[in-house]
Amino acid sequence: MNFFRYSSPSTFYPLAGKLIPWFGWSALLFAIVGLWIGFGLAPTDFQQGEAYRIIFIHVATAWMSMFIYVVMAFWSALSLGFNTRLSGMMAQALAPTGALMTFIALWTGALWGRPTWGTYWAWDARMTSELILLFLYFGVIALRNAIDDDRRADRACGVLALVGVVNIPIIYFSVQWWNTLHQGSSVSMVAAPKMAAIMLAGMLVMAIAVWFYSIAAALMRVRCIILERERGAAWTGQLTEPGKI
């Protein structure tokens, strides 16, 4: 199979349309299983009580907020390097969902922090760098809206996204570099997990749900963007009936 076949908007558009229901329904399925594990099977934490159940959504969305940024920067680099149309559109499609994940991570973190740490917010290294991530997403979206020419907007947003990627390792390693309020990682690639297996399972299933949701949302948005930006192109002229677009 030649993947480059799908690197143009006209061939990617129908493929994205076919993939959306698979990712969307999988997201819902994993979310149901994840919530069932998180609220039904996982026991009450002996230190945090029931408040710890917030981490199932907090950790999943916080991971996703960073990951989407890296993917957005990757598409931006492709767009800048090869000047391909679809890469700029993919970067554009990811920014709002990335901002949403960052917002949810900050919001749920605040509601977890209040009963657990005694404060909604602190200018802690991890929280501050995650807030900067939210502003970077807002910056990319605002810059996009400020430039009328799509290809120029691709380049400007691409540069901003690539400069901002330096923030990602800062968020990730902030809990090691600075000894402020936020605790260290709950899940590590190299060490044994510090939590019960069932809690870890709930967190991972929720992470998969958030993954699938983000892919579905980005694909839905990239299809809108393709329609908006390729309006004059010959191939979109073949898509005439609203239901079949």
Partner: protein, 49 residues
Amino acid sequence: MSEFFAMGGYGFYVWGAYGVTALAIMVELIALRARRMNAEEAHAEAAHR
């Protein structure tokens, strides 16, 4: 059942977190749907011209 919703006294925090998450996702999906309908309309207009 009410014990479940009370979340051991942490109901406000737990449901505040999950409720706003659900709301945010719904807002994104509604916005996507609106954007899609706008794009389709503009597209149909362009096709008929």
